[in-house]
Amino acid sequence: MSAVHQLAGAGQPYRVSPPVVLSADELARCGGRLPVWADPMALADETEADRLRERRLYIGLAVALAVVVLLFLVRTAVLAA
C-alpha cells in the first residue's frame, strides 16, 4: 500500500470554469433576475453565508453542555434528597 505524504494537486492553480454569459432570452426566462450561478459575487456571498452559518454549532454545543449540566444537577439533587 502506497503512503500519502503530500496532497495531489497541492501548489497547482485553482480550477476555474468559463464565465456564464446569459442571452437576453435566457435572462427573461429567469424572470429578468440574474441567477446566482451566473453571478460570481452572489456565489461568493452564498459561500460566506454558509461559512457563517456553521457558527451555529457553538450554540448547539452550549445547549448540549447546558442540558448535561442540568441533568447532573437534577440527579445530584434527587440522590441527595
Binding site: M1, V4, Y14, R15, V36, R51, L57, V63, V67
Partner: protein, 494 residues
C-alpha cells in the same frame, strides 16, 4: 497445615483480585465506543472554524450525473425533473441513466424524459443486469469517460431529490485542486415519516450531518454517500475510472481510494438531498446488512492502513481508527461490558453496584449530549424526530438508563432486586437477539400491528448492533454477496 491453608487463602485472594481486575478491564474496554462517540461529537463544533469554505471558488464545471436504475419507473420522473430544475447552468449539466435491464416502465419513462430534455437526458441500457450497482455504474462510466465533455461526475440514486442550490454548493469545493470528491447531506425525505423512517431520519442526522462534520475536521472521510458523490474527472481517472466490484461497500472503497491517492474528500452540509429509505424492518435489515458486511470487508481489505499515520495521516490516524472500530466492534463492546458487570456482580455484588453507579452517568451524559448536539445541527429535522432520538436505544433501554441514573426510582429488595440488577447488566446483550426477533415478528401475521411497538421497545440502535452481528456471521461463513435492492415507491416529498 496452617501454613498450607494460609497459602491457599492467599492464592484464592490473589485469584479473586486478578479476576476482579480482569472484569473491571472488560467493563473499561466495553466503554471505549462511548468515549469515542463523545470525542467525535466534541469535535463537531470545531467545524465552525475548521472547514473548507475559505478554499472554495466559483467553479461550475460540466457535470455528468449518472443514475443507476433497475425498475425505477416510479421515482425517475421526479428525480430527473428536479435535476433539470437545479440552480445550475443548464448547458453544463447532463443526466445519464444507466438502465440495468429494467423490466418495468423505466425505458418508456426515460424515453419521455429524453424527449422532453433533448441532449440533456441520456438513456444507457444494459441488456443483461442484476450484477449490482457497481457494475451498472461502471457501464455508465465507460460511456461518460469516453467523451471529454465531463469535468465532474455526480453519482446518485434514482430516488434521490436534490435541493436547487445543492449541486453548485458541492462544485465550489472542487475549485481547490487538492479536492477529489465532495459529498452532500442526505436526509430521509418521506412526506409523512413514521416509525422506521423517523428513526432513519434521526440516524441520518447523527451519522451524516453531525458525524461527517467531525470527519471534515479530522481530515478523513469514512464514506461518500452513495446517493450524492461528486468526483473530479482527474480523481475518477486516478482511481482507475471504475467503481470497485469486489465488495459490498463500493462507496467506501471509492472514498478510501480517493484519499489514499492523495486527494481530499469534503462533506458539504448545506448541499441537501432527500432520499427514500426503507419503511419496514426486513427492508432496512437487508440494506444495512449490505453496508455492515461491506464495512467488515473494508476492514480486512485495508488492514495495513489502520493506526498507521505513515500510510495516510487521516485514515491511518488514531482518531479515525478508534472511530471506525468503535462502530464495527460495538456489539463486542456491549458483550464485554455485560460480561464484566455480571461477573463482578457474582463475585462481589457491592463492588459491581459501586462500579455501575459511578460509571453509569458517563454513557447517560454522552447520550444526552450527542442527541442534543445532533438535533441542533438541523433543528427542522430534529423537531420532527426528537422522540425517536430519545428512544433510539429503545424504550426498555431508556427505562434501564433512567433507573440507573436515579437508583431510588424503583424500590426493590431481595430476589426482585437481584433479578432486576442482573436484567439491567445483561440488557446490553439481550437487546441484540430481541432486535433479531423484531425482524422475525414482522414476517408473522401479527407483524403489522406489533412490529412498530416492538421496534420502539427494543430500539433502532440495538437493531443496528444485531445487523452488525449478522454481518460478522455472514462474512465468517463466506455467504454470497447478493445485492438486495431497496424497493423505491416515490414517497419522497419534493
Amino acid at each position: 497445615m496452617t501454613g498450607f491453608l494460609s497459602a491457599g487463602a492467599d492464592v484464592a485472594g490473589i485469584g479473586e483480585t486478578v479476576l476482579t481486575v480482569f472484569l473491571l478491564a472488560l467493563v473499561g474496554i466495553g466503554a471505549i465506543p462511548v468515549v469515542a462517540g463523545l470525542a467525535q461529537f466534541l469535535v463537531i463544533p470545531l467545524h465552525a472554524v475548521r472547514n473548507h469554505y475559505r478554499e472554495t471558488g466559483p467553479y461550475l464545471p460540466n457535470v455528468a450525473v449518472v443514475i443507476p436504475a433497475w425498475n425505477e419507473a416510479a421515482v425517475l420522473p421526479m428525480s430527473i425533473e428536479r435535476l433539470m430544475g437545479l440552480d445550475y447552468p443548464p448547458e453544463r449539466l447532463r443526466v445519464y441513466v444507466v438502465d440495468d435491464a429494467s423490466t418495468d416502465d423505466t425505458p418508456a419513462v426515460l424515453a419521455a424524459c429524453a424527449g422532453r430534455f433533448p441532449g440533456r437526458v441520456v438513456h444507457l441500457r444494459r441488456d443483461e443486469g442484476g450484477q449490482g450497482k457497481a457494475h451498472t455504474l461502471n457501464h455508465g462510466l465507460r460511456e461518460i469517460l469516453a467523451d471529454d465533455w465531463m469535468e465532474a461526475l455526480l453519482i446518485m440514486d434514482a430516488d434521490v431529490i436534490y435541493e436547487p442550490a445543492s449541486l453548485r454548493k458541492m462544485t465550489r469545493h472542487l475549485a481547490d485542486p487538492t479536492v477529489g470528491a465532495v459529498t452532500a447531506y442526505i436526509r430521509e425525505g418521506s412526506r409523512d415519516p413514521k416509525g422506521m423512517t423517523r428513526f432513519i431520519g434521526f440516524d441520518y442526522l447523527a451519522a451524516q450531518a453531525a458525524s461527517r462534520r467531525a470527519q471534515n475536521v479530522a481530515g478523513a472521510m469514512a464514506c461518500l454517500a452513495g446517493g450524492a458523490q461528486l468526483h473530479t474527472r482527474e480523481n475518477l481517472l486516478a482511481i482507475g475510472g471504475q467503481i470497485d466490484t469486489s465488495s459490498l461497500a463500493e462507496d467506501t472503497v471509492t472514498t478510501f481510494r480517493t484519499q489514499l491517492g492523495g486527494r481530499r474528500v469534503v462533506f458539504e452540509p448545506h448541499a441537501r438531498v432527500l432520499a427514500e429509505e426503507p419503511a419496514g424492518v426486513d427492508a432496512l435489515w437487508k440494506q444495512r446488512l449490505r453496508w455492515a458486511r461491506g464495512n467488515v470487508q473494508i476492514t480486512s481489505m485495508y488492514r495495513h492502513l489502520w493506526f498507521r499515520r505513515s500510510v495516510h495521516p487521516g485514515l491511518g490516524g488514531f482518531f479515525f481508527g478508534v472511530f471506525w472500530f468503535a462502530i464495527l466492534l460495538l456489539p463486542v463492546a456491549m458483550l464485554l461490558t455485560a460480561t464484566g458487570l455480571i461477573g463482578l456482580y457474582l463475585l462481589d455484588s457491592r463492588l459491581a453496584g459501586e462500579v455501575f453507579g459511578a460509571a453509569v452517568f458517563v454513557p447517560i451524559a454522552t447520550f444526552v449530549f450527542m442527541v442534543t448536539l445532533t438535533m441542533s445541527v438541523d433543528p427542522g429535522t430534529g423537531r420532527k424526530v426528537w422522540r425517536e432520538a430519545l428512544l433510539f436505544p429503545g424504550a426498555i433501554s431508556f427505562v434501564v438508563l433512567l433507573t440507573a441514573a436515579f437508583p431510588g426510582l424503583v424500590p426493590l429488595s431481595g430476589t426482585a432486586e437481584t433479578v432486576w440488577t442482573l436484567f439491567v447488566y445483561s440488557w446490553l446483550v439481550l437487546c441484540i437477539p430481541l432486535a433479531y426477533g423484531v425482524r422475525k415478528l414482522e414476517g408473522t401475521r401479527w407483524g403489522r400491528p406489533l412490529t412498530p411497538l416492538a421496534l420502539y421497545l427494543v430500539g433502532f440502535g440495538p437493531m443496528m448492533c444485531a445487523i452488525t452481528v449478522d454481518a460478522y456471521v455472514k462474512e465468517f461463513r463466506g455467504a454470497a454477496m447478493t445485492w438486495d435492492k431497496t424497493e423505491k415507491t416515490g414517497r419522497v416529498a419534493a
